[in-house]
Amino acid sequence: MAYTKRLDGRKVNELREMSAKVGVVPNADGSAEFRTGKTWAIAAVYGPREVLPRFMANPKKGFVRCQYTMMPFSGTGERIRPGRSRRAQEIGMVMDKALEPVVDLTAFPNSVVDIFVELPQTDAGTRCAAITAASMALADAGIPMRDMVCSVSVGTVDGTVVADLTYDEEAYDAPVSDIPVAMTARTKEITLLQMDGHVKKEELNKALELAKEVMGKVYEVQKKALKAKFMEVSQ
């Protein structure tokens, strides 16, 4: 039986309800929060600052360094061991690569911009939420960027191409694929593309088209949140 009706009743191209807020960590140079459904990411940006350890410094330009952490209680109740796991390290690295093309740190050689993303609650699509939040936090920190980065996961559940999978869908008892995509908002360049599961070539193409189509909605949420910070102090 084909997957015609989604478990939570959404349309195939419908994202979960999103909300975003900027400036949630006052101590940081920039910060942002992004929620999509039950997935909740908080990003804090520090820097540009001195690079430690020193050997990582690049004398030509500054760089970004992401740290991704799922909080111990963020899953389904099973305690997640704190500290850096192999998975967290990998996601940190792909986040660096997803954000690196847009940030312009040529004016800050030998420096680093640290991005910390914590997830208090997770329900699939965490790396996408993390990238979306990190991009807003970078903008809030005043880091020069040529574009914003938006991210959303797409995939197939039993042959149906859907957007923004939940954990229940990823665990659906049928062939499932999960494809997180990050894209620059203006130029629509893909900066992150990973794949997990089984997918046909045509399905992948269709999924990428869908990602491109829904990415605009994520961008609207980001844009609104960034501007809202400067509207609310009005009185």
Binding site: S111, A185, R186
Partner: protein
């Protein structure tokens, strides 16, 4: 055919389109791609003639020659000090540039400046790699003694100082506190404890509302002083240029 798609004082985010066509010139924090001009930071648009620029609302301090900053001594070197400039880059203060008095060879430099001391200094040189040289050999540059140091966003410094130092003059007169504002976002307040607290609150309030107009009125209301016509300072300086006068006592 060129056209501008934003208005003055609009809030833009990175990657926002500002104008199309080659008739406009990209200024600070903007860039041109093909025939379009885009914003590079989260900020406020300011259009002056054909130049489009974006005033950043947050962001790191980029050291500039001639800027007066407040820095913290972090290490004592052979013939000088290493200071933290509140940027990604530390600066070196040479003994020669620190004092006019004769310093014997081998003298303990902590007699002059200790680790943890704050200094008001001026950037004398910045290299392309952002290595910074500073000096204290100018009137008004000295070690910070007494009072308190507070940190604000360096992009809000021009607003704290105000046009022709009007804002800072207002706070000084209302609270009786000496205020020195460093371009790197460190502020030194010295006065009575109550005055310092009031001044600190005022500065934080300015920082929060920096992007709004009619700020001076709000601040004078907060400080409980009547609004007055500010006697212009001698030089006719621009808002940002007047930042240098921030430390006039």
């Amino acid at each position: 055919m060129s056209n501008i798609v934003v208005e003055n004082r609009d809030i833009v985010i990175p990657g926002d389109l500002l104008a199309e066509g080659m008739d406009y010139i990209p200024g600070d924090f903007t860039f041109r791609e093909d025939e379009k001009i885009f914003s590079k930071v989260l900020g406020m648009v300011s259009i002056s003639g054909r130049v489009l620029k974006v005033t950043a609302l947050s962001g790191p301090y980029a050291p500039k020659v001639g800027d007066k900053i407040i820095a913290k001594v972090t290490d004592v070197l052979m013939s000088g000090w290493r200071v933290d400039t509140n940027t990604a880059y530390s600066a070196v203060l040479n003994v020669r540039d620190a004092t006019a008095r004769f310093v014997r060879k081998g003298e303990d430099l902590t007699n002059l400046l200790e680790i943890g001391d704050f200094i008001v200094c001026k950037i004398s040189n910045v290299t392309s790699q952002n290595l910074i040289d500073i000096t204290m050999k100018e009137p008004g540059l000295k070690k910070v003694e007494g009072g308190r140091i507070m940190k604000i966003n360096c992009n809000k410094v021009p607003r704290v100082i105000g046009k022709q130092a009007s804002m800072i003059q207002l706070i000084k007169e209302a609270t009786g506190v000496e205020i020195t504002v460093g371009q790197n976002g460190l502020v030194w307040l010295r006065g009575t404890p109550e005055g310092e607290l009031k001044a600190q609150q005022t500065v934080l309030m300015i920082e929060q509302r920096a992007h709004k107009s009619g700020l001076t009125d709000k601040i004078s209301k907060f400080l409980g002083v009547p609004k007055r016509v500010i006697a212009p300072a001698p030089a006719s300086v621009e808002e940002e240029a007047s930042a240098e006068e921030g430390s006039e006592q």
